[in-house]
């Protein structure tokens, strides 16, 4: 039985991991919900975000600059992928969409390997995030606390766009029924470009923010992608609140189980998913009959 301080510390780790999963999964879920495309390149895009940070931080020590640079690069990459490839697959069967995004993922990962090698790279923790913070009952790495705060702000921004703007209104309607949005006079395909690009930026930023905490390798996104698939099933396919809540639940389950026996952490996650699929197949926030 682990000690209480160890459990509390793991709970904080779960919060950090959960926030990260929430950001990764919200990108995945809005792309799936609106475009109907399950993006298997999501994990590779996570790694691309981390490498963009790695490159920028080699030339400058400004974390803010890295953040902005990452936004820009991911936005361009998202637009490019949608216009050149994804767009051609909207009317194709699901398996074609899976194959093409899976292929994009392989190409991106191998490009990273060709450019940077397969060895792990280190991205430094920003100067203002070094050391540990005294929380009274617990001493916790400062950067991880900041990570939670930064992601919370990004998710809030995404929430405001989705729930307080006309574009967000179209996206939310499109997640439910893209055909009806078209019948109501809106060219929904135009919104698809934006949604894909925003989803790619979200996952890229997640990779970038996570980079200082882990070893940066071309394959670093693979595990995250598998977990974020579980998250969107937990939360309900296409549901943004579902991705956020599902991400936090998944993060806590993985971290708290690790406190007892780390080899069971993923097993518990999949067990929970199986249980939920039996009790509530549409997920926590999903509506019945969606997708």
């Amino acid at each position: 039985m682990p000690s209480w301080p160890a459990l509390v510390s793991q709970a904080f780790n779960g919060l950090a991991l959960g926030a990260l999963l929430a950001l990764v999964s919200s990108g995945l879920t809005i792309i799936l919900g609106t475009l109907g495309v399950l993006n298997f390149a999501h994990g590779a895009l996570f790694a691309v975000g981390a490498y963009v940070a790695f490159v920028i931080l080699q030339y400058t020590s400004s974390f803010v600059l890295a953040l902005l640079g990452c936004c820009g690069v991911m936005l361009l990459l998202g637009i490019l992928l949608e216009r050149v490839i994804i767009r051609l697959f909207y009317d194709r069967p699901d398996e074609d969409q899976i194959l093409v995004t899976y292929g994009i993922g392989i190409v991106l990962v191998e490009c990273l390997r060709a450019a940077f090698g397969g060895n792990a790279q280190r991205v430094p923790v920003p100067s203002w995030g070094r050391g540990a913070t005294q929380l009274g009952f617990l001493i916790y790495p400062t950067y991880r606390l900041q990570l939670i705060a930064i992601i919370a702000m990004l998710l809030l921004g995404l929430y405001l766009v989705l729930y307080r703007t006309s574009v967000g209104l179209v996206v939310r309607a499109g997640i439910e029924n893209p055909a009806m949005v078209g019948i109501l006079g809106i060219n929904v395909r135009r919104a698809f470009l934006l949604v894909f690009a925003v989803g790619v930026v979200a996952v890229g930023l997640a990779g970038m923010l996570y980079a200082p905490v882990v070893a940066v390798t071309p394959d670093m996104g693979a595990n995250f992608m598998a977990q974020s698939f579980v998250v969107i099933v937990l939360g309900g396919l296409g549901s943004f609140p579902g991705a956020v809540v599902g991400g936090l639940i998944a993060g806590e389950i993985i971290s708290l189980t690790s406190a007892f026996n780390s080899s069971y952490s993923e097993v518990m996650l999949y067990a929970l998913m199986a249980l939920l699929l039996v009790l509530r197949p549409q997920g926590l926030f999903g509506s019945e009959g969606r997708v």
Partner: protein, 243 residues
């Protein structure tokens, strides 16, 4: 049955010998119909006669394999639904297709977004006071009747020049049907152009000016409601309805 030639200029919508297929199955055969400005046209026929397919072809949800569809003199065949909606054609689909996660007001906002002459909410709420009471409720919490009101309201708020109503009274309680028929009659009296597909023939004929009978994807009857009532054999044989 002859298809009336008439004066082309008078027709707001002309469907000219369209053939529409669902995959490999041929549903509409050289189907033609005309709707004049301010007219209410009822499409009647058995299940599978092609009524819904006709409306979906006009809206651009299905692309006819051949034939012409002209709206206000312009060819709209082959255009995507969003472009056809932009010209003032508005389908109210059978399944209503309310956005369940959006509130009543958000459903109306989505509809109004690209409409150049969108109605203010208050005008919608005058037609459907019930929707005002429920304006903050999520679409999925509405009753069937309320969903149908919202579905029609989304067409009205766009100030559609022609509304295509697909089975608007289906599955609703008689009292609600009565209210909706009243709304449809008022719209007709105000001169709003509509095509209505309905199994409830009595309800449809109570506000239609003209009727097309469909059978197996062909037009088998064209005339006024009075012509149809005078011909009970036709009603029974082709439309499968007794009045």
């Amino acid at each position: 049955m002859p298809i009336s030639g008439g004066c082309t200029r008078m027709s707001l919508l002309e469907v000219d010998r369209i053939n529409t297929l669902y995959g490999d199955s041929h549903v509409l055969f050289d189907l033609s119909l005309r709707v004049k400005q301010g007219e209410v046209v009822a499409l009647l026929g058995r299940n599978g006669a092609g009524k819904t397919t006709t409306l979906r072809s006009i809206m651009g949800v299905l692309a006819p394999r051949s034939g012409q569809i002209r709206f206000d003199g312009k060819s709209i065949g082959g255009l995507p639904p969003s472009a056809i909606a932009g010209m003032g054609v508005q389908l109210v689909p059978e399944e209503r297709a309310i956005f369940g996660g959006l509130t009543v007001e958000e459903n109306l906002r989505v509809a109004a977004l690209t409409a150049p002459n969108a109605w203010p909410f208050d005008r919608i709420y005058q037609v459907f006071p019930r929707l005002k009471e429920r304006r903050k409720s999520a679409g999925r919490t509405l009753s069937g009747g309320e969903q149908q009101m919202l579905a029609i309201a989304r067409a009205l708020i766009r100030d559609a020049r022609i509304i295509l109503l697909d089975e608007p009274f289906e599955g609703l309680a008689p009292l609600i049907v009565r209210d909706l028929v009243e709304v449809a009659r008022n719209l007709a009296a105000e001169g709003r152009t509509m095509i209505v597909v309905e199994q409830n023939v009595t309800a449809a004929l109570s506000f239609a000016n003209r009727v097309y009978g469909l059978n197996n994807g062909h037009v088998v009857f064209e005339g006024t409601p009075a012509d149809l009532s005078a011909n009970p054999g036709l009603m029974r044989d082709f439309l499968g309805v007794g009045v």
